[in-house]
Symmetry: C2
Subunit: 332 residues, 2 copies
């Protein structure tokens, strides 16, 4: 370990992601939790770390100089779109902003806020965007001639589960995205198939209906929902509330990024790179990734490297508690 002084972490937002950051800090001996910030009533929240205050968002200002990096754990991309630029004026930050299309605009806003106030903000950290993005860039640089494939799942899609819950007569729902084995097999073999949306993933929905609800109509509403379900083969299974709670309260996810390319004269050799994740807890994996990048944000700020960054700007050595020399000896 290179430092004795611990990196002081703040958590903004105490949902699944914030709780994950809290447990993640305990796994990193060079970090400590300083405070948790919430939009709810702080008195209603019981955290798992002793002697750490739970405060209101508006109290954040009082912690300027006392927190090295704020882990932004807002529930959605919408939250973060507002929060990151605001908080980046007070603290170094890490976030998991995941609205791919809006990233360039978000980057500009955060960059301006962080740079002008001498802070460092690493945005869009997690697995996708995040580690999957790195896998795509690395693989494309090594294999310029090739095709990219990203498969998600098997795992819970929060967005699709929410969409089902908005249907009339639905009490609760969870949607699992499942990659199609046949497609994955062809890609791993190096066949470079052209795959339609329907040929890559199926969608499996567990639904708790309200008493007396029209199940046939609910099933039809799900399967025909534009963008979310209409382009997929979707299976709807109705379950009791009891079974739902028992079997579907976890948030597993995962997926794989595959680059299938060729090298050599006339591209005669196939080369396949795959990066894959199998996660029992999607939010906790993201939380731990946020912490590794919090370490990088802290170090960049110490070196007066201010402004916004993404995972593409961060060398592995900045993520690690070990020094370059230690890494060369142990991990190279």
């Amino acid at each position: 370990m290179s430092d004795i002084k611990k990196i002081k972490i703040g958590i903004a937002g105490y949902g699944n992601l914030g709780k994950g950051v809290e447990s993640g800090i305990k796994q990193n001996s060079d970090m400590e939790l300083v405070a948790v910030f919430t939009r709810r009533d702080p008195g209603s929240i019981k955290i798992k770390t002793k002697n750490v205050p739970v405060c209101k968002y508006k109290d954040m200002e009082r912690f300027i100089g006392k927190i090295d990096v704020m882990a932004l754990c807002g529930g959605s991309a919408t939250d973060l779109a507002e929060q990151t630029p605001e908080i980046a004026r007070m603290f170094n930050t890490v976030d998991s902003f995941d609205n791919h299309v809006k990233i360039p605009e978000f980057y500009s806003l955060v960059n301006e806020a962080a740079f002008s106030s001498k802070h460092t903000s690493i945005i869009s950290v997690g697995w996708d965007p995040g580690m999957f993005s790195i896998a795509r860039v690395h693989s494309n640089c090594i294999l310029p001639d090739g095709k990219d494939y990203t498969f998600w799942g098997p795992g819970v899609s929060q967005g699709h589960s929410d969409a089902i819950r908005r249907i009339k007569g639905v009490k609760n729902a969870k949607q699992y995205t499942i990659p199609l084995e046949s497609a994955v097999y062809k890609v791993r073999k190096g066949d470079n198939p052209d795959l339609t949306t329907r040929q890559k993933h199926t969608r499996l929905c567990y639904v708790v209906a309200e008493e007396g609800a029209d199940l046939i109509r609910i099933e039809k509403d799900i399967k025909t929902m534009p963008n979310y379900f209409d382009k997929y083969d979707t299976t709807v299974i109705f379950v009791s509330e009891e079974n739902f709670t028992r079997d579907h309260s976890e948030m597993p996810h995962g997926g794989f990024v595959i680059r299938s390319g060729t090298t050599g004269e006339n591209g005669k050799h196939k080369q396949i790179i795959e990066y894959s994740l199998k996660l029992d807890s999607n939010p906790e994996f993201t939380s731990n990734t946020l912490l590794a990048y919090a370490r990088a944000a802290y170090r960049l700020a110490e070196d007066s490297e201010y402004g916004a960054r993404t995972v593409f700007d961060i060398p592995p050595v900045l993520l690690s508690p070990f020094t370059g020399a230690e890494l060369r000896e142990k991990y190279l």
Copy 2:
């Protein structure tokens, strides 16, 4: 693409790796080959790129200022141990030095040579050391509580093939390293098994014997060879020279790095990260990796960032022909 000006590449050593770099350059439109250097008689070597000279090693000096990055393609770690520190005084370099134990010492030598002469040298680039090393560091940073597993193969081990060829009565040989399915299965499931050397890989050897050689003695010599084979379950198959040439002239390889860890309260969630490669040509994959890092070496040198670097010091953006803004838009 960010640049019009092409990066001028030199190749030192025209074996499998050098040939791979030559074909790789054709896949990267921002690079061009300037010269190939060899210890053999340049007249005996025919390269595949038109109007590019083949020169003797000692002519290298004449190319100072005309080559941006020299790709060092010496045949072995022994070659590179001498060549890199020498050539790093004249050019920016990339190499695939793979003697893990000697890396710290090698790094110091190269760092001194490159730094004092204002060059940038990225050492130990390839897949292991290289991309596998990055996978190990990334995964360890994200999952501090966990276990690392590296499996190699199925693929040809050059070192083990060479060792067999040194046995009396052996005309030719190729050794395939094969990961044991049962072990891989347990690791991917998250069982975190403790595995002995024998439980991780088997070794399969195809041998062409000289006429009249004692096959039983050869088989015994192989299976009992210290370090190389004695700790493994080894299978020896004798084949005719004809079949050997037909079936065993390629150099496939690959493998996977798995980190199996836990997150959350009491580590209740299993999280598995896997990085895997399936390569029809081991040297060509390494060559293409050298080129991606040659781009980074060139840029660092342009920014006066001199000295030795490893893959741990290089952010993804430096490897890519695209700018940061382009990467954020296309790959994040």
